[in-house]
């Protein structure tokens, strides 16, 4: 059932994006004299060098060093046994640390995606029960929320929880991550806010589009219950468009992840890249692959399902 063109398209997409990650990960080597800078950084960190006033450098265009770094990165990625990262004058083994950060971030990401999809669908149902004019107000409200920057929403939500705690002594959620107790629910809840609104926006659009279709009119004419039409018939068709937008939702949540980890002081993968990424470009490349691979598999599976579903529909007609 899988068409050849689909396989070829996905394969090409996969190869190109992998190449892109490789190219972008080593980009600092193109613009800066990274080797000498890293040596100086190591000397400063080990306190062999204290005066840096005499050092001067400019932004360069270093194609040789870039290509060398690309080859080096490929070697590191495929050998796999020399993963180390540099921090404060020492080289530390990358693997337990990065893996822990990665699983933490991914559990937040997956959890919040599930919550945001659930909340988005529920909100859409509730909105669709209102008459059209009331709907316009609700949509306007969500338009305002949607256009607020993520940093504002996340900060405000965190402060809101603290405020509730101060007023009522009721700690809704753990606000920050402590030594061995993880803040779990609040980050997931906050990370799901903006993607939830995003999902809601598209779902309401496609629900309203479906609502004007002929089959809904027919169903109404047959006297089928309004809720049944909404829950079964419209919902089924609108879900396809949700899956079409799933890639956008996922990437949107990913973009919010950085701010979430920063504000909540979570040691996730984004914080890891932020803290150590500049001096460890191989690590950046590796983490980008770790994000890209599962996401790409997920997108491809969804795309394949949609393709099969539409093919079936057309075949039925």
């Amino acid at each position: 059932m899988v068409s050849k063109s689909f396989v070829r398209r996905s394969g090409a997409q996969f190869l190109l994006t992998s190449l892109g990650i490789l190219l972008i990960g080593s980009l600092p080597y193109l613009f800066f004299n990274m080797k000498s800078q890293l040596e100086i950084l190591e000397m400063i960190d080990q306190k062999n060098l204290s005066n840096t006033l005499f050092l001067y450098d400019t932004v360069v265009f270093n194609l040789d060093a870039y290509v060398n770094q690309l080859i080096h990165t490929i070697e590191v990625l495929f050998n796999g046994n020399m993963f180390e990262y540099y921090t404060r004058g020492r080289n530390l083994p990358l693997f337990p640390a990065l893996w822990a950060a990665y699983t933490r971030s991914m559990s937040y990401l997956v959890g919040s995606l599930i919550v945001s999809i659930g909340a988005g669908i529920l909100l859409t149902f509730i909105t669709m029960l209102f008459p059209k004019q009331t709907r316009a107000y609700i949509k306007g409200f969500f338009f305002i929320i949607e256009s607020l920057p993520d940093i504002f929403v996340i900060l405000l939500a965190q402060l809101g929880v603290i405020w509730v705690y101060k007023q009522t002594d009721l700690l809704l959620f753990n606000v920050t991550t402590g030594f061995n107790d993880q803040a779990i629910f609040l980050p997931i809840f906050i990370l799901s806010l903006l993607p939830g609104v995003y999902i809601y926006k598209y779902l309401v659009l496609s629900f309203e589009e479906e609502e004007n279709q002929l089959y809904v009119e027919l169903a109404k004419g047959k006297g089928i219950n309004r809720y049944r039409i909404l829950l079964v018939h419209i919902f089924r068709n609108a879900m396809v468009s949700l899956f079409n937008h799933f890639k956008g939702v996922f990437l949107f949540a990913l973009a919010n992840l950085l701010m979430l980890e920063l504000i909540f002081d979570i040691n996730g993968i984004m914080m890891f890249i932020y803290k150590h990424g500049v001096v460890n470009t191989e690590m950046v490349t590796l983490s980008l692959y770790m994000i890209f691979l599962p996401a790409f598999v997920l997108f491809t599976v969804i795309e394949w399902f949609i393709e099969r579903w539409t093919a079936k529909q057309e075949g039925a007609i």
């Binding site: 190109l16 100086i40 450098d57 900060l155």
Partner: protein, 342 residues
């Protein structure tokens, strides 16, 4: 006709008025603003100290105050021209370069074009802020000892412009493709129009309104990245290093960077350590960002949904017109004569 419809377009007007007010008051402030050193203490009527700076939000300090007792409202107004101005400049160059680059993409054979779009897809798999940070940080933070001031200001701008070009150029190229499939392009070709002529006379004019909307959107995007970079401790508007603490035994000094220009991202960066104890110190600049981004998004909304507002205008204007027509029909001779005589 066009002008009225834009002026009645409430979201558009709201956004424009808000941004203009902020920018104008910001540039006026640098001429007329007072340079009074404020008190670090707040007294009540009897002269007792009731609060120490930073002051919490109140009637006197609507957004709170900073460590020196400056009200955040004034600081934010002063910094607005740098932040918003810089965002507008960056967005403008983004659009200009991606317009040029998009045209070149459009002229490329489709196999190369697909390759480029596959490569550009990479930029989606992590926040743009991370990519920007990784390229800016070596100059501004990690190896900051070796670069001079002009590099530290110019290079981040180049990166901020460059990082968006692949995605935006692809958008321009897609739009160009869509327009060039229209029929009148075929007839223009038959009449002898060659590549660049077609682009200049027949493709580009259709692109300009879309580019305008894209430009406004990009101003918002750049503002968001500024806010993010502020949280990542990158100062865009120059730093002023102050000695905070001196350890007399070792002679080591603890220094802290301050934003010289009260540029918003810098304000976020310098105040983030105080976020837990004095939340308003971070919340104030973030609110400024949020409000301007809201204004920009409502301009975008107004520009993209112009049809809705046009329709409303027409509906409103129809009934009075018909009434006037009826009146003139009734008093056709009399009214005309009287108006000429009077």
């Amino acid at each position: 006709m066009r002008k009225t419809s834009l002026l009645r377009n409430f979201p558009f007007v709201f956004g424009i008025v808000f941004l203009l007010l902020v920018l104008v008051s910001s540039s006026l402030y640098s001429f007329y603003g007072s340079e009074v050193q404020p008190d670090k203490m707040l007294y009540d009527k009897n002269g007792n100290v009731i609060a120490l700076a930073p002051f919490a939000p109140s009637f006197k300090f609507p957004l709170g105050s900073d460590l020196d007792g400056f009200s955040f409202v004034y600081k934010l107004i002063e910094g607005a021209k740098y932040t918003v101005g810089l965002a507008i400049a960056v967005a403008f160059f983004r659009i200009v370069f991606s317009f040029i680059f998009g045209y070149f993409l459009y002229r490329l054979p489709s196999s190369l074009r697909n390759m480029f779009s596959g490569l550009a897809n990479t930029l989606h798999y992590a926040p743009v802020t991370i990519f920007t940070y990784l390229l800016i940080a070596p100059v501004v933070l990690n190896f900051s000892w070796s670069y001079d001031v002009s590099t530290k200001i110019l290079f981040p701008m180049v990166i901020l412009i460059g990082i968006s070009i692949p995605v935006l150029a692809l958008y321009v190229q897609n739009e160009l493709d869509a327009i060039s499939k229209k029929e009148y392009i075929d007839s223009a070709k038959i009449l002898g129009g060659t590549g660049f002529h077609l682009f200049r006379k027949h493709l580009a004019p259709f692109l300009y309104p879309k580019l305008l909307i894209l430009f406004v959107q990009q101003v918002g995007q750049v503002l968001i990245i500024f806010a993010h970079l502020g949280l990542l401790n990158v100062f865009i508007g120059g730093t002023d290093v102050r000695v905070m603490d001196v350890d007399f035994k070792t002679g080591e000094t603890t220094t802290q960077s301050f934003s010289m220009t009260n540029e918003w991202a810098g304000l976020i960066a310098q105040n983030f350590p105080y976020a837990q104890s004095f939340p308003w110190m971070v919340l104030a600049p973030v609110t400024a960002f949020a409000l301007s981004i809201l204004a920009i998004n409502s301009i975008v909304y107004g520009l993209t949904n112009r049809k809705i507002f046009k329709k409303r205008v027409e509906k409103k204007s129809i009934p009075p017109k018909t009434v006037i027509l009826e009146q003139t029909q009734f008093e056709f001779n009399g009214s005309n004569h009287s108006s000429k005589q009077g």
